[in-house]
Symmetry: C2
């Protein structure tokens, strides 16, 4: 039900997803009437692979998370997360209110052992492939221990999705030297150095897109600013490029000739392909789609959920965390 | 002497600057022999508008700022800043070690009344023109009062350069609502609301390039990450665009046809034009050029210094700060 377009986006995306993945079933959670109307408009029907699970309430995009959690016990996002909790669903995908989704997921699913707080993680395109960046906004202030936990979570996600046993981890900072940054980041660096993770060291903002490391760890404030600044810059550059090609009839003609190149460039930097953000650290898989996502973008968020569900990322996090606990208990082993 | 290319960049940039601004004189500060050799190679001579001021030491790009400050009293950056202090020069431009430049400038020039710490400010291109963003890395941890002072400094700089009496100020945050962000940012928001500045409210990362406000205020950690992330993304996108145009001989042909458009796009997003970063809040004008700057980029940093020196930005900051002090002393006036 969530996002700027509700079922107009989520339902067609689900139909596309069902076609692409014949081994997966989909449960549409929300207002039965709205979902049925959307299905009908798309000439689609429920069946063994597609069912509707009614939920009588909807969390508004601007609703305070704590109020949504307290008052809307039959909201679509709450019910969908309940399905994950009960094991009826392997993952939940939502385009709804991020804060409410995080608060509800945390309340219903709880965090994995050793994880204090979940984080929002995303795969971002880089010059060398993709990197996982977290936290992107769930935790404004983070302790060094939390940043370490993010590193464990990000490594597990990146490793599971890319079949990489030891992804490299970088700590986002404002210089590569150990002495740079604030006290929290410095202490997190020490924890990471002493850990069994493949810690590269400090990285800077430009390293995200350079692809210097597989996993970039930062607090949610910094990560959110980096992500949104990137969105803004990409939009501005696309706009400028378009403007340059529309300045005269002659240039428009050139644009027509260059169209195939421009289109493949556009496809390559299409942020819709990187839409799914994982709520990591929970005892269940929850993927957040951008609220403004269109059908294709929401489809990619569902793909992200499927990949996570198939790759055993949760057990990977638990393993590392329990290994960490064992290591801490036995100082000789460090 | 500073930057990755030393006099090979600074000297030709200075020569270009002298030609473009017949009303301005330039003092080249550094190792006399190196500067003379570079001038000779460029068939240029010293004269009434161009003189050399010898300084026997050079601060290395990776030298710890405090050591440079303590041990290199005759470094080119120290001597250049001394010239600003004594009034012999109206501004200092350096491509050298940022930390050392900041530490030296702060030690020699001192901060303006009411300003606790200087900040690094830069004009960034936006969809609506330019915005001033600060701090970009001088202050890792900032108090709400310091963020307020950055807002005063940024407003003065933007206002002076753009002849705008009341530039709008945004506080960089991870959501537009007042309740978002950490305690420091929330408290800074309260200070800004109560101030005489034209405070817009919270802005997010994407607002920087949208040009939502004239001045964007943040701590140096966040600002540095936003700036460097932008650099990385712009580089990646340019690289991708180039790759797309080089994929086949047919596409290369299209690139030739589209060249005028691509070149004007490139010019428009040319970061060299935004190279100068101001060390704001000092009793003197110091502009930092990117260490990797080429001749044109360093030239633009000199332009930035000239504009600052001609626009009375320092007295503007002092005025606002003394107005603020008066307002604080008289509660009825707020």
């Amino acid at each position: 039900m969530g996002g700027d377009h509700g079922t107009h986006v989520t339902v067609p995306a689900a139909l596309k997803f069902l076609k692409a993945h014949p081994e997966v079933n989909v449960v549409l959670v929300g207002l039965q009437d709205a979902i049925e109307a959307e299905l009908k408009a798309r000439h689609a029907k429920t069946g063994p692979r597609l069912r509707i699970h009614h939920a009588s309430e909807v969390v508004a995009m601007d609703e305070p998370p704590q109020l949504a959690l307290k008052n809307k016990k039959d909201s679509s996002m709450r019910v969908a997360i309940n399905l994950v909790k009960s094991g009826e669903a392997h993952a939940c995908v939502s385009a709804g209110n991020t804060g409410a989704l995080m608060a509800t997921a945390r309340f219903v699913l709880k965090t994995l052992a050793g994880i204090e707080r979940p984080a929002i993680a995303k795969l971002m395109p880089t010059m060398r492939g993709t990197s996982c960046v977290l936290d992107l906004g769930a935790n404004v202030d983070c302790s060094p221990e939390q940043l370490y936990q993010f590193a464990v979570m990000g490594s597990a996600l990146y490793g599971a999705l890319n079949h990489n046993e030891r992804p490299s981890v970088g700590l986002l900072n404002i210089g590569s030297e150990d002495i740079k940054g604030n006290e929290t980041v410095k202490a997190a660096g020490e924890l990471l150095k002493a850990s069994r993770l493949n810690f590269y060291g400090n990285v800077e903002g430009n390293d995200i897109y350079k692809g210097t490391v597989d996993v970039v760890v930062c607090d949610g404030f910094t990560g959110n600013v980096a992500l949104k600044t990137s969105e803004g810059l990409a939009k501005m550059l696309t706009e400028f490029l378009k403007e340059e090609f529309f300045k005269s009839w002659w240039r428009k003609l050139i644009a027509v000739v260059a169209m195939p190149v421009l289109m493949s460039f556009r496809h390559r930097m299409d942020t819709r392909r990187y839409n799914g953000a994982s709520l990591l650290g929970l005892r269940g898989i929850v993927v957040k789609s951008h609220g403004g996502a269109d059908k294709l973008a929401f489809y990619y968020a569902m793909e992200q959920a499927l990949e996570e569900a198939s790759s055993g990322v949760l057990s990977k996090i638990s393993e590392t965390m329990s290994g960490h606990a064992a290591a801490s208990a036995d100082p000789l082993e460090i």
